[in-house]
Every structure is written in structure tokens, then in C-alpha cells.
């Protein structure tokens, strides 16, 4: 399942090791290739605030989907007046179709551990937690081996890098809810509570795990930190787009294959889609692309003429999609957009935690409206009602799930209005997917 796609050699590699060979938990060979170099440099020669400045200067933004500038987070966590702080690495990977986080943990566990240790050093935290999906057993095994190897060598532990500075890193397997990808929900799960988001501010960097300042980062964000310390903030800022530099792992899926690729942020969507939708290859004739779903279950559908959009936080938000889980799904003309929108909206509604009423009831009603469209039994005004409801849900959102759960519906309505109108006005499905309608037409013919 974790198939690494071949990417053009001009694309830089930061997160995943260039070669696949060897045991990723072998500390000696990892140290020979530069692992923990950054931690030693930082602890021996840099002050914590210099590390924070380096991260801020690199322009690194959170890879968990929201793209919050990491330097701002680190400054807030470091300056919060508390004795105890935590670092939490989110390797949960909430989207069931996406395996990027666990692949990173399996292939480059030391980069994540070193990144966590650096973050702990920068904000003066003594403890870190890595949240991993319970069913990612290979990732958990790799991490356990890697952490114990690093502890034996004294790189982390009670006397990290022989400076008397203690840092402990624990693995916390979590499971059972899509919402755990949201940072405050994950913190609730780590505290052993029902996973519901919290009002922000205060942000977790000020009041997070057990009420202490907590740095919550995706594992990809943390794995980039050692590289930044080693090569300098300017080198990192030069990779990818200006507004959000660096690389990100994406999970691609299309008719021509599926897999994970490390791509520089700001790459055009067309280049990414080409990795799994190679024209002219394979025995079957290639079907035309109908839509590209960017961002996982709460992502947006983009039409083929928007494929020149850069894969970048702000540019994607402007066209009603988002980086989200890092998933890019190519749908060819066999798929029906209304059918897909219904599936995604239903999933988002089912996974709503129930804390806020607009999300709990609103997404459910939205899902019912899309159900009616797909079934060919829309009520008059359903299209306007859906847009109205969607804007209300977004306007009263508590967390990003609620803010984005309406995207499948609204982006489908924005870009695929002719296909939607076929469902709404003529009760037909051009792709022949929506079943009751197809059966009714067959009977009439």
C-alpha cells in the first residue's frame, strides 16, 4: 500500500531518505548519514531562541493541513509563563485513505525524534508524545526500536547529548475517531477524554495538554526541523513556493496508479496528477480527467482547467480546496461528482463530534440535501438551501473540520453546476452512477 512514486530528480528531498535500502532503525548508519547532527549542534552551540529564530526564518508552516506558521507557534509556546511544557507529534493520519504520516514514521523515525528533541530544546519542554494510529503496527514497532536506540546512545533520555538536559519521548497509540487529526481533539484523547475540540484562543501553544503550553505539530513538520538547523533557514526558504517553503508528502491516487510522493509545495497540480495519470501509458485507453479531489474527505473538487493551481495553502483555499490530509484523488469520467460529494459529506457528517450544533445538525441536513440531489428527488430551492446552510456552518465553526466539511458540496456546486443541474432539474445522472435514476431511465427506455 505504501508505494513510493518516482518523482523528477529536480525535486528536492527533505523528509524521506533518498535511498530505500537498509534498516531505518539502525542508529549507527543513520548517524553516519547525518542524523542527530542538528540536535548536537543546537544543544551545544545554539540558544533555544536561536533555534526558534531559525525555524521562524525558514518560513516552515504546519503540515497538518491548516498551514499555521510554525515559528509563531514556537515563539508562543516558548514565551508562555509555565514551568512545564509538552511537545506532541501528530502522526495519526486521520484520513483513512492516506498513509503519509505512518510511511514517514516507518522510513525516517530518527528525523521525527530529532525534530521533537529540537522542538523540546527550543521551548524548554521535557516530554514529548508521538500519537500514532493503533493499526499502524509497523510504524509503532519502528518508532519503539528507534526511540530505545536513541535513548541507549544518550541522544535523548534523562541526560540528552551529555548536557544534563532531560527529554523523554513516548509513543501513544490512539484510534477510533476521524476527528483525532484536529489538534485540540488529539490533546483531549491524550488526556483520556472524549475527543471534542476546544475554543481557541487560548491556543494549545499557550494552554494545551493538561493545561500546559503544548507544541502540537504534524510529524512532517517536525521531521523538517533537523534539516533546517543543518542547512540553514535560507536554504529551506529557497525550496518550493515563497509563501510556504519546503516539501510535503502527498498521497496520490488515480486511474494510472497510487502512492506517496514527496513534493515541493507550490508545484502545479498538473505535475502531481501526471504522476498517477500518465497519458499514453498502459494498455487501456486513458479516460479524461473529470475532477481532482484535493484534501481528503473534507476536500474540494477542482475541474481540469484549474490544474495549473499551485499546490500551496493559500492558492488552494482561494479555489475552494485545501491541502488537508495531503490527499489528491483523480476522478475520471466514470465517477459522478454528486455521488462523490454525497459520500464525502456523509462521511464528514458521521464523523462530526457533536460539540457544536451547526456542525452536528447542519452537516447532517447538508448530507440529506445532497442525498436528495443524488436520488433525483430534490425539493425546490434545495440548491440555494445547501449554499445557505453551508455558509452558516462555516460561519459558526469551532474547529477546522466544521470549517471544511462543507467543501465537497460547495466546490461541486461551484465548478460542476451543469452536472448538478442534470440531477436537480432533469433527474438524470450523466455518468450513470446514481442508481435510482439510472434504473428509472432504463425502465422508461
Amino acid at each position: 500500500m505504501t508505494n513510493l512514486l518516482a518523482t523528477p530528480s529536480s525535486w528536492p528531498r527533505v523528509l524521506l531518505p533518498a535511498t530505500d535500502g537498509g534498516d531505518p532503525t539502525d542508529l549507527d548508519s543513520a548517524i553516519r548519514t547525518g542524523a542527530f547532527e542538528a540536535l548536537k549542534t543546537a544543544v551545544r552551540a545554539m540558544t533555544p531562541s536561536q533555534v526558534v529564530t531559525a525555524v521562524a526564518g525558514s518560513g516552515l508552516r504546519g503540515r497538518g493541513g491548516a498551514g499555521f506558521p510554525s515559528g509563531t507557534k514556537w515563539r508562543a509556546a516558548a514565551s508562555a509563563p509555565e514551568a512545564r511544557r509538552y511537545v506532541v507529534a501528530n502522526g495519526y493520519g486521520a484520513d483513512p485513505a492516506v498513509q503519509t504520516d505512518r510511511t514517514l514514521l516507518e522510513r525516517a523515525p530518527f528525523a521525527v525524534i530529532e525534530g521533537m528533541a529540537l522542538a523540546a530544546y527550543a521551548i524548554d519542554a521535557r516530554q514529548g508524545f508521538i500519537a500514532v494510529r493503533s493499526d499502524a503496527e509497523a510504524a509503532i514497532r519502528t518508532l519503539e526500536a528507534a526511540i530505545s536506540a536513541a535513548e541507549e546512545t544518550g541522544l535523548i533520555g534523562p541526560d540528552a547529548v551529555e548536557t544534563g538536559w532531560p527529554v523523554r519521548i513516548e509513543i501513544r497509540p490512539v484510534q477510533g475517531a476521524y476527528m483525532l487529526g484536529e489538534e485540540t481533539v488529539l490533546l483531549k484523547a491524550l488526556e483520556g477524554k472524549r475527543g471534542q475540540p476546544e475554543q481557541r484562543p487560548p491556543h494549545p501553544a499557550e494552554q494545551g495538554l493538561f493545561g500546559r503550553p503544548t507544541l502540537v505539530h504534524n510529524v512532517q513538520t517536525l521531521a523538517a526541523v533537523p534539516w533546517i538547523v543543518n542547512h540553514g533557514a535560507e536554504a529551506y526558504a529557497a525550496i518550493g513556493s515563497k509563501a510556504s517553503p519546503g516539501t510535503i508528502l502527498v498521497q496520490l491516487r488515480g486511474p494510472g496508479g497510487a502512492g506517496i510522493a514527496e513534493v515541493p509545495i507550490g508545484t502545479k497540480l498538473r505535475d502531481l496528477v501526471d504522476l498517477v495519470h500518465a497519458r499514453g501509458r498502459g494498455s487501456e485507453p486513458e479516460r479524461p480527467i473529470k475532477a481532482v479531489l484535493v484534501g481528503g474527505p473534507s476536500g474540494g473538487f477542482l475541474p481540469p482547467d484549474l490544474l495549473d493551481t499551485p499546490y500551496e495553502y493559500d492558492a488552494l483555499r482561494a479555489v475552494d480546496a485545501h491541502i488537508g490530509s495531503g490527499s489528491i484523488v483523480v476522478a475520471d469520467d466514470q465517477a459522478c461528482i454528486v455521488d462523490l460529494a454525497r459520500l464525502l459529506t456523509r462521511f464528514c457528517a458521521d464523523q462530526a463530534c457533536g460539540k457544536t450544533i451547526p456542525c452536528r445538525i447542519g452537516t447532517r441536513r447538508l448530507s440529506e440535501i445532497v442525498d436528495r440531489m443524488a436520488a433525483g428527488t430534490p425539493r425546490p430551492g434545495d440548491a440555494a438551501l445547501a449554499l445557505d446552510l453551508a455558509s452558516d456552518i462555516v460561519g459558526s465553526a469551532l474547529c477546522d473540520h466544521e470549517r471544511l466539511a462543507t467543501l465537497p458540496t460547495t466546490s461541486a456546486m461551484r465548478y460542476f453546476r451543469p452536472e448538478l443541474d442534470d440531477h436537480l432539474l432533469r433527474s438524470t445522472c450523466p455518468a450513470g452512477v446514481c442508481h435510482p435514476i439510472a434504473v428509472a431511465l432504463a425502465g422508461r427506455a
Partner: protein, 223 residues
Amino acid sequence: MSFVPGLGLVRGMALTLRRFFEPKVTNLYPEVPASIPPKFRGRLQLLYDEYGTLKCETCFQCAQACPVECIDMGGVDTKGRYAIHWGPPETYGERREESALRRAGRTVPDPVYEHFHGIDLHAVDEILEGFDHDPKELLGILAAIQAEYGYVPVAALKRVSQSTGAWYAMLYGTATYYDHLAVGAPAAAPGRADEAYLGALDGALSGRGARPDAADDAPAGER
């Protein structure tokens, strides 16, 4: 009292006149906000939506927030699960009455009540000992209980609450939230949401349709 013509009228008008010059008690709400005691919470009422279903989704947030744990509730939550078993034991009987069940939207007996008795709790005690009775390890405790019994018995939840000091409402809210935990009664297949989503996505992309029941419909269409 001797009869004086018009005295009653004078008395009545005197009262009217006195009231006329008294300070007014009408509040010009909403221009002038009413002064309400800080603990006033209005009238609590559960509302129904336009489809006639109860808007309360049994999320237990109010029960968790209630400082004296006096809130008692029943109903169907967002995932369609039937939950009518939070509250002091002496009110179980009331909640099994027909009217209580009807208010909760169902006319079936409470499965959790049925499964409440007759569970050997030694395994729960061992699990709790292993986790040092620490409420922060709740998810680990619940997962271990699920592995031991195949589901999370309500009696075990009560024991966890007693032993860790965590509120039962908090525990119940946590245990029913996570997909992989089956609370009250063994579920056929807990935590299948991910596989269902992946299967439906495969179906939608390959043109078969996203509905899980699409395969069942096809022969009916051909008939």
C-alpha cells in the same frame, strides 16, 4: 358603617390616583435589559425539529457539566445508538416505563439495562491495577477492557469510575465516542467506519456508485 353616597367611588378613585403617581414597574425591555439573578437558567425544555425528532442528541455534555450529577437522559445519539441509561440507579425503573421510552423515541427495552448484571469484574480490577488507576490512561484502560470482554460492559465503566475517581458521565461520553469501543453490548463489528469509507470511495471512483447497498440494488434493477 353608615351609608354615604359615593364613598365607594371616592375610595376606588383614591386608589387609582395613588397608583397613578407611584413609580412605574414596567421594564422597557429590550431597550433596558432586565436584571436577572446570575444563576437563572430560564426554562429547560427539549425541542423537536421540523421533522418531529428530538433535537437532543444524547451527547451527555449537559450531564458532564452538571455539578451535582442530577441530569438524567435518554435518547438516540448522532450515530443512531440507543442510550437511555445515565442517572442514579433508583430511576432506572422510571426510565423503563413506556412513557419514558416514548419520550426517548423508542419503544424497546434498554439493552444496557439488560446487560448490566452478572459480570465478573476481576479482570477490570487487574486492568486498573496495571494502569495504576490513573484516569489519564483512560483510553488504554477502555481498550484493554474491550479486548478482555469483547465490549465495554456498563458495570465495568462503573467500576472504572469508582476506582479512578473520574465521573461516570465523563467516562460514558468518552467510551461512546470512540468507534473501536462497543459500549453496553457486543457490537457486530465496531470501528468499521474507515473500511466502509474506503470501499465506498473505490466504488464511486470506478463508476459503481458510492452507496454500500449498490451491489444489492443491481439484481433488483435487472429483474
